[in-house]
Amino acid sequence: MKNSDSVILYTEDNGNLVVVVPADNCDLTVEQIQAKDIPSGKPSYIVSRSKVPTDRSFRWAWKLNGSAIETDMTKAKEIHKENIRRARISKLAELDIDFQRALETSADTTAIVSKKQALRDAPSDSAIDSATTETELKSQWNTSILGASPYSDK
């Protein structure tokens, strides 16, 4: 069994879960690397690499429950809202241009204003707060106003 078939998990002071990948060609066992490389005083766990989720959409919401990785949904919702905020930046800029053009030609701006408001409201959608799983959270992505989901290629 190679060292890299395992990972070492511990939690930093800021709450982030750290995944340590041991090197194969260093003449040390995983246990020796754990003793050498993990900050002293930090509880750490050697687990199979297969136990690490391959979907990293909410990587920074991972936390330890014993030696198992699980998702902190409160953090995951903040990540999701931040993804929405990033996605809407370019959309709002495009709508600002549309709005200015409409003003210049005295065209109706109602639809544009409505789209801008929908983008502003998107992070506070109540469905985000009520999501209980990553899958439910990912489904709260309105492609009609935000464009392609950042989770579709994960």
Partner: protein, 127 residues
């Protein structure tokens, strides 16, 4: 020390690979190529015991042998494409004799931290 061959063809007096590297200022003491999109999977390495992923697009590389001081040189590249420009830097105050913490950021993404497919880092200095 002189180099000798005995009747069995055994060579003595030649420095081991590690001793040769440790005593040479001009060679990299450690290097690593790793993936940033799969929690730091190591593709190839030398002189490294582990790589850790403590924060978004941040990595802690831990050396097999400690450097003599924290003034060693770090050289690195990260993958990208013509539409996505990225950089890599040492986290402030995070270059120690035993570890080096680096972060990867997207210059075309406003400086946001960004995980990348492949990254290469080499370390030069006295051990």
């Amino acid at each position: 020390m002189s180099i000798t061959f005995n009747s069995n063809g055994t060579v003595t007096g030649v420095a081991s690979d590690n001793a040769f590297i440790t005593g040479n200022k001009g060679v990299a003491k450690a290097w690593i190529k790793f993936r940033g999109d799969t929690t730091g999977a190591i593709i190839a390495s030398y002189g490294i015991t582990s790589i850790s992923n403590p924060d978004n697009a941040e990595y802690i590389i831990t050396f097999s042998t400690a450097f003599a001081n924290a003034n060693y040189i770090v050289t690195a590249i990260v993958s990208g494409n013509p539409a996505i420009h990225r950089g890599i830097g040492i986290v402030d105050q995070a270059q120690t004799t035993t570890t080096c913490r680096v972060n990867i950021f997207s210059t075309s993404g406003g400086g946001d931290h960004e995980d990348t497919d492949e990254n290469c880092i080499a370390f030069f200095g006295d051990q």
